[in-house]
Symmetry: C2
Subunit: 768 residues, 2 copies
């Protein structure tokens, strides 16, 4: 736990003081990204202490050869990994002949980092006494431009304070990088061209196997006492790096700074042969604007993001900082402009988990992006899966399914499965249901039904076919059963009749056929195309519906709850509160078999389903299930507390809801799991947003209308959030006294608050 | 399948003709061993075609760092691997300046291999025309001495047949070897001294990490026209090898041969500093006897083994060859002299599976060694596990068990678990029951109760404690349940209430307490020592008995069978005969999840338990279970058909019994699984022996007496086997007409045949 280390602030993440042990954690926390690229908060200058260097480009990956102990048929050959990209931020700094390295300085004082979330920049400043006695002040400011998303900018300023100094800046590009998590120490990059010209330099590299070509470029400007000087840098190239050296002689107290523009142009967006000229163009554009002007654009761009996405919390600065950190990081990771991209579990802040796409996107991130962005963004997230439908069909074929059944991968970059643990890869198939649910959720929220005939129905048919084939008939139970699965609770493997999976399977089939009929009636041309493409016959439809109708659900009469799976009641039902604290988290202290036979639930499982299909259950049923399962839930997944928080709020148990909320909102800032140095938990951040908007705010879509049941934790004075609903922005302010709504748009909106309907006019305020 | 490739012969394995594609398979089939070391049938001379070089020393292993895709708490750090040892068989041969290499010769004719099982030697002969036109005949004979088990001998004879020839033999030692199955390409051996003197040479190497020191030595003799000549070889050493060169000029039709004695002395048996002198001593002893005299001793030693272990089959030469091959290979692998050794699944014929010890030893091999060797051998096998008791307790502690509960490893070399698949390592815990069952089986067969107070009871207490702690109480069932296990059928993982496991657990507890009471009454001193060592209290005993008494067993009233596990009847119960043949074996064609949710049984599971505890069930119950489970059994483990064969025989279904027998007896000779090149299935060979002796012969121990229910397949004229029973040898001959018994011993023996008692006098024959 890192509690109280990060300074409380409404808009910034602030670290004060230099602690070698915390460098790697802070590199994660102060990460920056612009949706197209991102990087850990590594120092620009040489640092010989423990560090985890990371710079990443969206969509650029490497298929690392699978490493397993015991091969199982069906495992993928490769694990697609987020790829550490060439370093463009490096600036070696020499002062009076001595290299600046915070790990070697006589002293480092006034060390401070600030990540300004409101404006989208990161700054580091400190005073250092070098071994040669020169004392300097350094201030380095950096951002990745939202406007020019192939460019980042650094202003690195040095001021000698006890004597005059010769300062040598050596900005460089280095493509000789590796991944921390390589399986076989493969070389991931091949560097094939280096060039420099005046203040610019470029490196052309391509990834092995996948052959993504990347031009890493830089353009530098030298300033002495804030005046740009015409510098002729000395250039030096090695096999994989280019270095330019700039000398400045400055008096005591006088400052010099280097502005470095750098970044990547990538073959995803340019022809290979145009990469250098594209880089030159964009760097020139940035440098002609200049650092300050580009930063002004950055502030404006972030201001626009916040306008839609911000949540204001009054009376609790740590909660405020926490929620903004979550919203900020989500926006740094994914902006929804490009349907080829998705939301990696670590974003651009680390390499763990590889891949870019988990069911997290559909289950947790989609609601955030639907409510805080133009609906095109959510549509792009759905389209990503539509583009992967053929791969999902291939994936199912590898597991023995036929006739267009689709199984979406557990982890993927390009649609192919890349995970390799049989109990997850082959058995955590509930993920497939999330694809259909996301479509339903999107249409319900946006009202954009057109997505279904255009793209969604084909996905839904592939998914329904999978469930149809995957369920088998039990003569014993005279019902359809789904054997050998892993539910959302990964602390159970290879179980039979996971209620969540069975429920989702039944629902996916029914929703698919319901929409098939609707499309048949209302979109005849699309229907014809889809039927031809999928070759779906009535006999198969009848078979699907039979499975849905006769699906088995494990139920306990005694407890009046659906059982998480067959045999759940055979476990030793000792609640978490009766578990020795020294055994927590159990995933660190217990062997896997012990975890599996325990009743402990890693993340919401049955409750995940009841959350998703709240309307199908009474409040009493929800309470019964919550009371039954919550005592066994250890929340050892970052995706767990948010769902419990939302349900607790729904059940008017605000204290509990608030406790769960706290656990999710500052997970990384307070480093609950002592692992933040590996990167941030990006996708779970969307869960934090949901805890407030769906949990406290009680946002639902009911009968095509926005509905709210606002509640407020007693610890807060008030909170405000915005939602984009069908191209109008509704601002919702909840205080201990009541809730007010303001509409920014051009037509009336009828909403439901606490069960009653209200109609709001544009630019007016109503209070309930 | 390899059917009909090996020539049928009563006593030898014979290959005729040279087939590059078969070299690796034949290297396995013609392997030789003497219990202390063993080797694949690699060519002595250079061979540049596909080959799998392997020479192994009993008890010498390397802990290879674990390689897994996804780490689970409790996994061992290392996997102990059978270690490829320095090569001492190599003899480069040059004829008229041309190197002999069967992969490069103009022609190879008359190629023949023979493994003479009666006498324990291996011979290879061929005629080759070299690229330079010289035609030669070669005959190479080799054996690993049973008398001097640190020595092997080779006689390598060359006869030029179309012209005179200068023949240069270069025998060498080479310690620059690797394992085929290294996880991280580690170097396993460190060679630290090489020396040579006249006709001898030595290499000292030690294994990395485990620091086994090994001296690999050789002593050569050159003969021309069968006369030993005084040769002064030229010596050459490199970093890891020593080569001695011998020249002989021979006339056309005249032969020359090299006799090479070689082998290992090992720090398991000598002090490190004595290894070279020990090697020198034993090589001198061998060479002074000479090749032929040593070979005569070999024949005598094997004759003694066969006296006790042979099974003669009349009227079916392939069955005869098959059963002798199994008996021969078991004896090559393990002779029971050293309680530190055990029976590796591949013996000395390959590297697959690593480790040396599986539950195969207790469940399959023990009966063979009890009946065909002095009872000390079986006692050594039990003692091996007694010595590992503390490691088994540590192993259980790693999984959260306490208070002296012991979990014997799935795979081991030194008692530590070295397997790393959670569903096996942590869950295939029925292996623990086999430890207690083996003690019971030993005492039942030998009458040597003393083993229990001396050593056995402590093992049984550790095992019983494990079951006590591992079972948990189900409030739902009001019974003790055992959740999350893998049974003998590894095509089910993480199942609940595997009948076999639950049954064995209950029995282990009851048998332990029964013996505890007996030891208390009859061995007071031992009892005191054991109670002090184990700190076993009445309360714990009561707890154990409660678990045993209230153990849950899944049962189907409808089918009147115990169910393999909870939920077995929910599966799609399509019999194997209705499975598309193109899908077999399913482990090659189906993904793991599909296998797991299918009803298909890899190897006897419920039936394994009914086989072990036959007396507890009626014949009708056995038949019901056999009829229920056999149709779903795919026998994709080499350990499966033997149990089904024995039960089928017991049920008087001899045609079926014979079919299963055939499948096990020539598994390797006919290469059913197309994998014999990886090595032989040593431990399953004991199952083949059981199929005849327990299956067809119907041998059981009933009320402390040998009991038989002889049956004979209609394809055979007769068969004869010997069993050592309490230090007398009983020869049993079964023909279509009746059964005769001859006793070699010094006291009367009362046996039971077909339910009736007969008393046999020593050296007399009775016919029933």
């Amino acid at each position: 736990m890192n509690q109280d280390y990060i300074k409380p602030d409404n808009w910034s993440i602030i670290e004060e003081g230099f602690d070698v042990e915390r460098v790697k954690s802070s590199e994660s926390l102060f990460s920056i990204g612009n949706g197209a690229m991102g990087q850990r908060a590594n120092f620009e200058e040489t640092y010989t202490g423990p560090t985890f260097q990371g710079s990443y480009i969206a969509g650029v990956y490497y298929p690392d050869k699978t490493r397993v102990g015991w091969w199982k048929n069906g495992y993928p050959e490769y694990f697609a990994k987020v790829l550490n990209a060439p370093n463009w931020i490096g600036i070696d700094v020499e002062v009076n002949g001595e290299k600046l390295d915070l790990h070697q300085c006589k002293s480092v004082t006034n060390f401070r980092r600030e990540l300004n979330m409101k404006e989208g920049w990161y700054q580091r400043s400190f005073t250092a006494v070098l071994a040669n006695g020169t004392e300097i002040e350094v201030k380095a400011t950096r951002f990745l431009s939202l406007d020019l998303d192939e460019v980042g900018a650094i202003r690195y300023k040095v001021t000698p304070i006890n004597q005059e100094a010769k300062v040598v800046f050596t900005p460089y590009l280095d493509a000789g990088i590796t991944n921390e998590d390589t399986n076989w120490d493969d070389k991931f990059w091949d560097t094939y061209d280096l060039s420099h010209n005046g203040n610019t330099a470029y490196i052309l590299s391509k990834t092995m196997k996948t052959e993504f070509h990347v031009c890493t470029g830089m353009l530098n400007q030298l300033f002495v006492a804030n005046e740009q000087v015409d510098a002729s840098p000395k250039a030096e190239t090695s096999g994989t790096s280019v270095r330019l050296s700039y000398e400045a002689q400055v008096a005591k107290g006088q400052s010099t700074h280097l502005v470095k523009f750098g970044g990547y142009t990538v073959s995803l967006n340019h022809k290979n042969e145009d990469l250098v000229s594209a880089s030159a163009t964009v760097l020139k554009q940035a440098s002609e604007s200049g650092f300050d002007a580009l930063l002004d654009l950055q502030k404006k761009a972030w201001s626009k993001i916040w306008e839609m996405a911000d949540i204001v919390i009054e009376g609790d600065v740590k909660a405020q900082q926490g929620i903004r950190f979550n919203i900020f990081q989500l926006n740094q990771t994914y902006l929804g402009k490009d349907p080829r991209l998705n939301i990696g579990p670590k974003g651009f802040t680390g390499e763990k988990y590889g891949g870019s796409t988990y069911w997290d996107t559909e289950a947790y991130c989609l609601p955030f992006y639907m409510a805080t962005k133009d609906q095109m963004v959510a549509r792009n997230l759905l389209t990503y899966r539509y583009h992967h439908l053929n791969k999902a069909i291939e994936n199912a074929e590898k597991l023995g399914f036929t006739n267009g059944a689709a199984l979406y991968p557990m982890v993927t970059m390009n649609g192919e499965e890349c995970h390799n643990e049989w109990e997850i890869t082959f058995e955590e198939i509930h993920r497939n249901g999330a694809m259909t649910f996301a479509i339903y959720n999107y249409v319900r929220y946006t009202g954009d039904y057109s997505y279904i005939p255009e793209k969604g129905l084909e996905v839904m048919i592939g998914v329904a076919r999978f469930w149809h084939q995957r369920a088998t008939f039990s003569e014993e139970k005279e019902k359809y059963v789904i054997l050998g699965v892993t539910g959302p609770n990964e602390y159970e493997n290879n179980i039979n009749n996971n209620w969540y999976t069975n429920y989702l399977a039944k629902w996916c089939i029914e929703y698919c056929i319901e929409n098939l009929n609707k499309v048949k009636g209302e979109y005849a041309v699309d229907y014809k195309r889809i039927i031809e493409a999928t070759n779906l016959h009535q006999e198969e439809i009848d078979g699907m519906l039979k499975v849905a109708e006769h699906m088995y659900f494990p139920y306990s009469e005694k407890h009046q709850v659906f059982l998480q799976q067959d045999g759940f009641l055979d476990k030793e039902l000792i609640t978490v509160s009766n578990l020795d604290a020294s055994q927590r988290p159990i995933n660190q202290y217990w062997s896997w078999d012990r975890i599996l036979r325990s009743p402990y639930i890693k993340q919401a499982d049955t409750l995940q389903g009841m959350y998703m299909f709240e309307d199908k259950f009474t409040k009493e049923e929800m309470a019964k299930h919550f009371d039954f399962y919550e005592p066994y839930t250890v929340h050892e997944s970052s995706l767990s507390p948010c769902v419990h928080s939302i349900i607790a709020a729904y059940l008017d148990r605000m204290d509990q809801a608030y406790t769960f909320y706290l656990r999710t909102s500052r997970l990384d800032l307070d480093d609950y799991n002592k692992e933040v140095e590996e990167g941030l938990h990006i996708t779970s951040m969307a869960g934090t947003w949901m805890s407030i908007v769906e949990g406290f705010g009680g946002l639902r879509i009911k009968e095509d209308k926005l509905s709210f049941t606002p509640r407020i934790p007693k610890e807060w004075k008030g909170y405000t959030f915005n939602v984009n609903f069908r191209n109008q922005i509704l601002k919702v302010s909840v205080s201990q006294e009541g809730t007010s709504f303001t509409l920014e748009g051009n037509q009336e909106l009828t909403i439901c608050v606490g069960g009653k309907e209200f109609t709001i006019s544009p630019d007016s305020l109503i209070t309930v």
